[in-house]
Subunit: 389 residues, 2 copies
C-alpha cells in the first residue's frame, strides 16, 4: 500500500427536507454574506431555491444571487462570480444544484482569493491554497463534487475543459436530500450513475498490489449502483433507491475508495473532449469511452478484470481462460449501460468519426502520456476513440 | 434510509515512518503546548516515543508527559491528566498508543474544559460540548478510536466501564503507520481484529430496510479482515496485510458503515462487564459474547443472517431452509475466531458461570432494555451469557 493522507472534513446532512437547514449550517460554519449560486430552470421551478432562500433569511443571513450555470460550467460565469465576491465581501458560497453548480462555485471561491486569472489553477500554473468557504445543496447524484476537492471548468475560447483540485475546495457542508433527485428524468439519472461508476473504476484499475480494503470498498459502491439504478429507472420516486445512489455517489468520489494506490484518470480526460466538443452529458460520454478503454487495456492485467467480473458482475471464473471471464465482465458492463438507456458508442451518442483527430489534437498528446494503470500515448488514445465507434 | 449526519473531519496520515510527522501536524492544527499521553512498555522500548518527542522538538513544540495508561483505561489517570492540563494551559493532547491511550486522552480533553467531574459525561448526565484538541499516533488496529468521537473509561470504584461520545472528540489528526503494529503478538492482533468485526456487526444488524450501500460497505470491511488477519497471524511482518487491517479498523468505526440506519450496541455493553470483571482484552470478550448474541437473536431476521453468511462467509444459500444458511454463517464466524486464536466461550476465556448474576446486576437491567435490533431485557442478557458458557 502506498503512503497516503485522507481528509474529508465535509459535514454531510442527509435526508428528507434537509435543504431547510441550509441557513443553520451556513451560520454554523461562519458564513455571514452569501453568494447563492445555481443553474436555471428546475431549481427555481421546483421551489427549491425559494426554500433555501427562506432558510437563509430565517437565520438573518444576507445573500446575493448568481444563477445561470450551464452543464459543463463555463469560465465566463466564473469571472462574473469572482467579481461579485470581491466587490461585495462575500464570505460564503452556497451552491444549489448538481456538479456543475458546485464546480462553478469552487472556481469562484478559489478565484476570489487570488489576484491573478483563476484559469491559472486549471492550467496547472498555480495550486489553490485558499478559497472562500463553499456549502452545497445537491440535486443530482453524479459528480461527487459535494464531497471532493475537485472542480472542472470549460473555457469558452476553444471549449477547453480542464480540472483543478485542492483540500481548500472541500465543501464545509453538503446537504443531500434524495427527494430532490426524484424528479430527474431517467436519462440524467443514468448519466449520473455512469459518472459514479467511472469514479470508482478510475480508482479500481491500479498497479498497486494488495490493497484489499480499497478494492472491496470500490466493489461496494459498484454493487450498490448495479442493484439500485434499475429500480429508479423503473420508478423515479423510489426514495430508498434514490438514497442509496445519492450516498454511493459521495462515497465514490471523496477518495475513500482510492487511497493507498495509484489511480488512472485517462478515461475522464479522454471523455472530456467528447463532452466539450458535443456538449453532451459527461456520464453519456463516459458510457461510450469506458468500455472501449477497458477493452484496450484488458491484457495489461487480465486477473484484475476477472476479479471485477466475478465480484461485481457475478460471472463465474473461467480458471483455464481468465481472459474469457475478464471480457465477460466488460460485456456485462455494456449490457448494464444499455439497459439503463446509455449510449455505448459514437453512433448512439451522435459523435462523429471525423472529429477524432480534432479531439486527439485538443488533448495535446504530442509530448505526454496519460493514465497510471496503462500509460497511453497519442496513438493509444486515438485507438480507444476508434474502438468506441 | 433514516435521515443522518456524517462528519469525520480527522486528517489521516497513513504509512511508513509517518510518526515522524507528528510535530508537523500538531503545529498545523494549532497545538503549542502538548500533553503527550501513552501507556508503558512497548511504546517506550520500541523507541517510538523518542521519535515522536524528537518530531515535536524539531518544531519547537513544548510538551509534558503522562504515561501509564492501562488497557481498559482508568478514571484515576484521567483525573491526573485533567489536573495537568488545567495547571499548565495545555492546548493539545497527543495520544501515542492504542484505543486505551486515545480514549484516556479524549476523557482528559473533555474533562479539562469542564468545571464538574468528567465522569458526568460517562454517566450520561452531561453531553461533551467542548474539548482540547486531540491527535493520535496509533499502535494497534482495533478500537477505531483514532477516527471516532467515542471513548470508554473504567471507574476503579466498582470497575464500572462506561462510554461517552461527541463530535468534539474526533481527533484532528491521526497517524497510522502499519509498521508499528508488526511487533504485536498474535493474540493482541486477533483481539483487535475481533473488535473491528464487532464494530461492523453492531451496525450491520439493523431493522432499517434497504440501506444497501451501508450493508455493502460493512461487508467490505469484514471480507478484508477475514482475508488479511490469517496472513499476519502466520507472518507478523506482512506489511501489506497489516496496512489493510489498520485502515479497515478506522473505516469500521468512524461510522461510515453505520449511517442511515438504527444500530445495535448491546453486545458491546454485555461484553464490557466481562472485561471490567476479568480485565480481559475487550476483543477476547467480544469473541465470546458475539456468537452467543447472534445465536440468541437469529430468529428475529433469518434472512439478514443468511445474507451475511452468503456474502461474507461464502456459504451457499439454502433457499428452502434459510435458517440453515444463517446458522452456518455463525459457525463460520466461530471457526474463524478459533483459527486466529480467540476464545469463544467462558471456559476458554477463563470466565465463571457463577459470576453471571454479578455481571447482569452491574449492567443495571432492572428498568431498561438494551439493543436496537432486538430489545433485550435482564433475562435475555442472562440467557446470552449462559449461551456463551
Amino acid at each position: 500500500m502506498n503512503n497516503f493522507t485522507f481528509y474529508s472534513p465535509t459535514y454531510f446532512v442527509f435526508g428528507k427536507e434537509q435543504e431547510n437547514t441550509a441557513g443553520y449550517y451556513v451560520k454554523k460554519f461562519g458564513g455571514t454574506k452569501v453568494l447563492l449560486h445555481f443553474g436555471a430552470g428546475s431549481v427555481v421551478q421546483s421551489g427549491l431555491l425559494d426554500r433555501v432562500k427562506a432558510s437563509l433569511s430565517k437565520e438573518g443571513i444576507e445573500f446575493l444571487e448568481l444563477g445561470g450555470v450551464k452543464p459543463n460550467p463555463r469560465s465566463g460565469l466564473v469571472y462574473e462570480g469572482i467579481e461579485i465576491c470581491k466587490k461585495n465581501n462575500i464570505d460564503f458560497i452556497l451552491a444549489v444544484g448538481g456538479g456543475s453548480a458546485i464546480d462553478s462555485a469552487k472556481a469562484i471561491a478559489a478565484g476570489a482569493k487570488y489576484e491573478g486569472d483563476f484559469w491559472d489553477f486549471y492550467e496547472g500554473k498555480k495550486h489553490i491554497e485558499d478559497a472562500i468557504k463553499v456549502g452545497t445543496v445537491l440535486t443530482i447524484a453524479a459528480a461527487g463534487s459535494e464531497g471532493s476537492g475537485d472542480t472542472v471548468i470549460t473555457k469558452e475560447e476553444g471549449m477547453l475543459k480542464r480540472g483543478a483540485g485542492s483540500e481548500a475546495l472541500r465543501p464545509v457542508f453538503s446537504i443531500l436530500n434524495p427527494e430532490l433527485t426524484q424528479t430527474l428524468p431517467a436519462y440524467q439519472t443514468a448519466c449520473g450513475a455512469t459518472d459514479i461508476m467511472a469514479h470508482v473504476f478510475e480508482r479500481y484499475f491500479t498497479n498497486t498490489r494488495d490493497v484489499e480494503i480499497t478494492d472491496r470498498l470500490c466493489e461496494s459502491v459498484l454493487l450498490t449502483i448495479i442493484k439500485e439504478v434499475p429500480k429508479v429507472i423503473k420508478n423515479s420516486n423510489d426514495y430508498e433507491a434514490r438514497a442509496n445512489i445519492m450516498w454511493a455517489g459521495m462515497v465514490a468520489h471523496n477518495n475513500l475508495v482510492g487511497v493507498g494506490r495509484d489511480q488512472d484518470w485517462a478515461s475522464h480526460e479522454i471523455e472530456h473532449e467528447l463532452s466539450a466538443l458535443y456538449d453532451c452529458a459527461h456520464g453519456a460520454g463516459l458510457a461510450v469511452i469506458f468500455p472501449a478503454w477497458m477493452t484496450y487495456v484488458l491484457k495489461h492485467d487480465v486477473n484484475r478484470f476477472a476479479q471485477l467480473a466475478v465480484r461485481v458482475w457475478g460471472c463465474h471464473m473461467d480458471f483455464a481462460h481468465p481472459e474469457v471471464t475478464a471480457e465477460e465482465g466488460i460485456l456485462c458492463f455494456k449490457k448494464f449501460l444499455t439497459s439503463i438507456g446509455m449510449p455505448i458508442n459514437f453512433k448512439e451518442l451522435g459523435a462523429k468519426e471525423e472529429d477524432i483527430p480534432v479531439m486527439v489534437d485538443k488533448l495535446g498528446m504530442d509530448n505526454r502520456t496519460i493514465g497510471g494503470f496503462v500509460k497511453l500515448n497519442k496513438n493509444d488514445v486515438e485507438a480507444i476513440y476508434r474502438l468506441a465507434l
